[in-house]
Symmetry: C2
Subunit: 304 residues, 2 copies
């Protein structure tokens, strides 16, 4: 199970009634926060979420609307008595940006660990998550993230019986343990487990032109959360020159990648009501929705 909460949906500037774009993922008591603009800690409180279990923070890039809320967030995590280290992932330069911003949050009761990205794609396995980072195309170095919670294969009792493995070892093998049996034999989980099944996957990208990396990343996603900065026709040139994406371009990416669902986010302050364009977008990719602040979804495996 993975909980998905889109904390905010704004781009560029925080507005009354629209927080800046940020995503919280929760699985097994370990949370990932992606982006943290001004006000994200308030959006989180409004959504009823605590900053304490944030074990991983990912940043797409270092424009203020994606990271200006960091000092306050770190202090809030400190005030919630967190002492466990926090892993921070972001484009090259992360350590220096965080160091600078921490001039107003110098003392924290937990350690920060840094992963700086500079490759086309990078993968990290942390806690229950596999995090795939992919380079996108903005006016500064910028990454998108796919977060997957993998799912083990099905236990195969027939295979276990065939190999003469006593029932008393089955549970430990199902939980990934290698077992040395009383008869001296060594049993490994792969002897009794079927092939890995489809896990849960969320892909998040903002502040980019459409590009092939995004299509690859969003393939098989349960939710693909993508910038749709502008909805009204005629904004394509502006989107191109500022290296942003229109709702139409996001829908076209989704049509190629075929995620289960597309959520738009990172709306321009000039776009008051993104929903007015959703009809046209559904013609391109039917399973699309306008993200809104605090939108939640509990993702669960489709077959049990």
């Amino acid at each position: 199970m993975m909980d998905v909460c889109l904390l905010g949906t704004g781009g560029m500037l925080p507005m009354p009634k629209r927080w800046l774009t940020s995503l919280m993922l929760r699985c097994e008591g370990s949370n990932i926060l992606i982006d943290c603009g001004e006000g994200t800690q308030i959006a989180m409180k409004e959504a009823g979420l605590s900053p304490r279990p944030i074990d991983i923070m990912c940043f797409t890039h270092y424009h203020a609307d994606h990271i200006s809320g960091l000092p306050g967030m770190l202090l809030g995590m400190g005030n919630s008595d967190r002492t466990e280290p926090v892993i921070m992932i972001g484009p090259k330069g992360l350590f220096n940006v965080v160091k600078s911003l921490r001039c107003i949050a110098p003392e924290l009761p937990f350690e920060l660990r840094f992963i700086e990205l500079d490759q086309n794609t990078e993968q990290y396995k942390i806690g229950p998550y596999i995090i795939n980072c992919f380079k996108v195309n903005h006016n500064i170095l910028c990454y998108g993230y796919s977060v997957t919670v993998p799912r083990k294969g099905r236990f195969d009792p027939e295979a276990a019986k065939e190999k003469g493995i006593s029932v008393k070892y089955w549970n430990r093998l199902q939980h990934g343990e290698t077992v040395k049996a009383e008869n001296g034999e060594v049993y490994t989980p792969d002897m009794v487990m079927g092939p890995e099944r489809k896990g849960l996957k969320v892909t998040y990208t903002t502040d980019t032109r459409p590009c092939e990396n995004i299509v690859k990343a969003a393939e098989g996603a349960d939710i693909f959360i993508c910038e749709g900065m502008y909805g009204e026709p005629g904004m394509e040139e502006k989107a191109r020159s500022y290296k942003h994406m229109t709702m139409r371009e996001a829908a076209e990416l989704a049509a190629k990648a075929k995620p289960t669902e597309l959520w738009f986010t990172h709306y321009s302050p000039s776009m008051i009501n993104p929903k007015q364009y959703i009809g046209d977008m559904k013609k391109i990719f039917p399973e699309c929705r306008c993200g809104k602040d605090g939108m939640m979804r509990e993702l669960d495996y489709t077959d049990e």
Copy 2:
């Protein structure tokens, strides 16, 4: 005339429905912003105010809740096409703090000029304002601010007639001009203007223990805006050890300084409803009010 808008009233952490403490003053199209925590730019929009005319920014100190909104505010001012310089006033170290925070707002279309405070009191005359900065008592170097809009004396036509000054020069003299008359005489404003009258004055202080500097600063203020972090009895020791002030201590300061009015602000996140303590506070200083987000007052001269 001076407009006073208390943008937020929170201390420590921004909360849903309570912005961090910040004050906007407006006079003759030139605005002063005092403190700028996370979310202040949104509070300003909610109050219907623009960031563009902010000519002066004052900071009490560099704890995050008083300055974390600075990068976003500066970018907002840039987006509003401001090109005129902005004067920044704050305790020693201001330049370095602002430089660090600007790692995410490096390019601005206007210049920043810095005034760093380190004396017990300092005075600056900028635009329509006289700004008196006074050192207070927090766990880091911290200042309060009194902002005064001075008022010229009354024009004395009898004095002008007595001195034989032709009526055609009166208007220029009233506007502070020194006039060389056709007859060769030189007339100065002080020849025809009475003594300076009481101007408009607002005093603002947060994050401090009570101290004599505050009493002196708030004397004669039309509005004295003061931290009242805690209202419930029993919090005195906590206030003392963290170098904050209770509502009672603020009211006692007001009883000594005798401003026209006291507004409480900088409430602890633990204090949900400060109004429940106002009855007790009025026994100490009757003209007190609980500040609330967006509270506005138009100050005007009492006699015309």
